[in-house]
């Protein structure tokens, strides 16, 4: 049971990319539909601006019944359809009188696209999606006074740049994880404590290194540069000016000959580690747990330089109709019992401090470092890089995410 759950979890965290690949043949057909849909959607670009303070719902949260459509990472809003024993949507429906429809998505980019297409009321967004949605005007600020369980959220998750803009909160934190350095025990000796293992040209495991196959991985290069090239002055790996960005791309190019494969598909990653073609690289705690299912074969550390990570937030659409239900859901999903259940199913650190006492595996929070404040101090959660530097610099323009994607696409194709 434990293993089943864990596998399910990564399926979720892996953003079901592989599921998407399974559906490639459908994709080919669907792409034409997408194109046609593209024609019919509004052509004018809406003014990108976050909401006004007056948009905050003043409450009170009543008992109006309604329907909410939830857009979530797989594993975040389970209604028993994956596993009858895993269900925190049905109890919510019974208690609140609200009807819930869940739609899962595979990547942050897909989430943004779906949210923009409309029809969804509540979304669980990672930091690299949330800002795009906030500035795209798709969300409404959330009145946290109406969400009693918010008080129990870990303080270091509150009022952070990916969930709070201009002093307005846009949601409640769900859970978080770090992108760790995973190594095969026995193949990498001694155990590494630095990302230099995967970045430096003289790496002892050259050719057997893996890296995450997404533009957001550029931030991992920036994290390493923060400690190896302090003269670049990087303080936030998601706020890179052109010089800093170029240095990160240089580092990635230096790494490319060392890389055996880039990964975005967890099954492929696990198989590569098991067959020995990959022995070191960036990973998620939950992948390491699966690999260590029978026997301790890999180690997972957060190196001394720090690491990138994710922190997900439940947010409400600007156009929500059943606003009472939306607020009730936000309060429900971060309730200690539910948060514990969801975090454990998914394999990440819960956001609610009281959830740790309620997990089925009593070591869960320890395993995922949920309660250690120090652990998270150098974890740089995914954020969407914007032209306005996220680290507060105003004398220079930063490289926006669209340029990251272009650079990544070109880098991978070269």
């Amino acid at each position: 049971m434990r293993f089943v759950a864990t596998t399910q979890q990564i399926k979720g965290r892996n953003k079901t990319l592989n599921k998407k690949r399974l559906l490639t043949s459908l994709l080919a057909i669907a792409s034409s539909t997408v194109l046609i849909a593209g024609c019919s959607s509004s052509g004018t670009s809406e003014e990108a601006a976050p909401a006004e303070e007056s948009a905050v719902y003043q409450g009170p949260v009543g008992d109006t019944p309604g329907t909410i459509n939830i857009l979530a990472w797989p594993g975040y809003a389970e209604d028993g359809s994956t596993d009858p024993a895993v269900d925190w949507v049905t109890p919510f429906e019974k208690e609140s009188g609200c009807e819930v429809n869940v739609k899962t998505y595979g990547t942050s980019d897909e989430a943004v696209q779906l949210m923009q297409s409309g029809g969804y009321d509540v979304i669980s967004a990672s930091g690299d999606a949330s800002l795009r949605l906030i500035y795209g005007g798709d969300l409404q600020p959330v009145n946290l006074d109406l969400i009693p369980n918010y008080a129990d959220i870990f303080d270091n998750l509150k009022d952070r740049p990916w969930n709070t803009v201009d002093g307005l909160n846009y949601g409640v934190p769900h859970g978080r994880g770090a992108n760790v350095l995973q190594y095969t025990i026995g193949k990498v000796d001694p155990a590494p404590d630095s990302w230099s293992l995967v970045w430096e040209a003289n790496s002892p495991v050259a050719g057997k290194i893996t890296a995450y196959d997404s533009a957001i991985y550029i931030a991992d290069a920036a994290v390493y540069l923060m400690s190896t090239k302090p003269e670049l002055g990087i303080t936030d790996p998601y706020a890179l000016d052109q010089t800093q960005f170029d240095a990160a791309m240089e580092l990635l190019k230096q790494q490319k000959p060392l890389v055996g494969e880039y990964w975005a598909d967890y099954t492929k990653y696990i198989e590569a580690v098991q067959s020995g073609s990959i022995v070191a690289g960036t990973s998620w705690q939950v992948i390491a747990n699966v690999l260590n299912g029978e026997k301790e074969t890999v180690g997972a550390v957060k190196p001394k330089e720090g690491a990138t990570g994710w922190s997900d937030t439940w947010m409400i659409s600007k156009n929500v109709e059943a606003v009472d239900c939306a607020y009730k859901w936000l309060n429900w999903i971060i309730k200690p019992e539910v948060n514990a259940q969801a975090a454990e199913w998914f394999g990440e650190a819960p956001a609610n401090s009281k959830a740790c006492a309620l997990t089925a595996n009593k070591d869960h929070c320890k395993l995922y470092h949920a309660e250690e404040t120090d652990y998270w101090s150098n974890v740089y959660y995914w954020k969407t890089p914007t032209e306005t530097c996220l680290d507060g610099r105003t004398d220079v323009k930063c490289v926006p995410y669209s340029e990251w994607v272009k650079a990544w696409s070109s880098f991978r194709s070269a």
Partner: protein, 290 residues
Amino acid sequence: MSTNSLAKVQQYLHKNIKARITALLLLPMTWLVVIYLGSLAALFITSIWTVDDFTNKVIRTFTLENFIEILSDRAYLNVTIRTLLIAASVTILCALIAIPMSFFMARVVSPKLRPVLIALAITPLWASYLVKIYAWRTMMSPESGFLTWLLSPFGIKSPGYGLVSVVLALTYLWLPYMIIPIYAGMERLPNSILDASSDLGAKPFKTFFKVVLPLTYPAIIAGSIFTFSLSMGDYIAVQIVGGTFQMLGNVVYQNFALDLPFSAAVALIPVIVMVLYLTLIRKSGALENL
């Protein structure tokens, strides 16, 4: 009443040949024009649009920036050349394997065995693409794969994941598409021509190269269209056995959620290549003989 009107329709169709043809072709033509050409047109139109940098929404204004980006970035030229080389290698390998195989099946073995051999040749098509490609992944694994086991006693290193693996895997995947047309072409050859060749003193090899091959050339071309276009568009095999390499399809996949117009522009490259390829083939006259 209804029998009466049915008879009227029959009468009308009987008299009017244009109506008959229209009725017959309406559905397939709708499919061809709306679904097939329509989506190609949509692809083309999308490629001259752009997206909002931050929200990734498509902005429908005319711009050539996607094409300028593709042409100005050396990486995209590289990926195009790489894709072409892979497609060409796969096509040549498939032809090299399929020609003798088809000849054997069509002309050498007894007619009773032919259906069995044909069935065997196409059995790989019964298995899922993903199953086959993951099997190749296991076989090509640089550490514990079948090829490593096979080659290491001779001191040869397995190619591991990379372009060689992609070419091998795609050759395996598309081989039936090459065998079937060539087999059909060779089976159609009249015996009299082969007899005439040997009567005139040609040795079997000479007959094969001077008579059989030129006559089955259109069939080989037909097979090459399949293997070449299927390889051009593939992006899964290269993800699974290609190591860090990418093909054109990967670029499309990588960008389609964030920058649909750019993806559309990249997707036009294989379309252009195939149009050029078909034009060349048409010029050579092979299409008329299919």
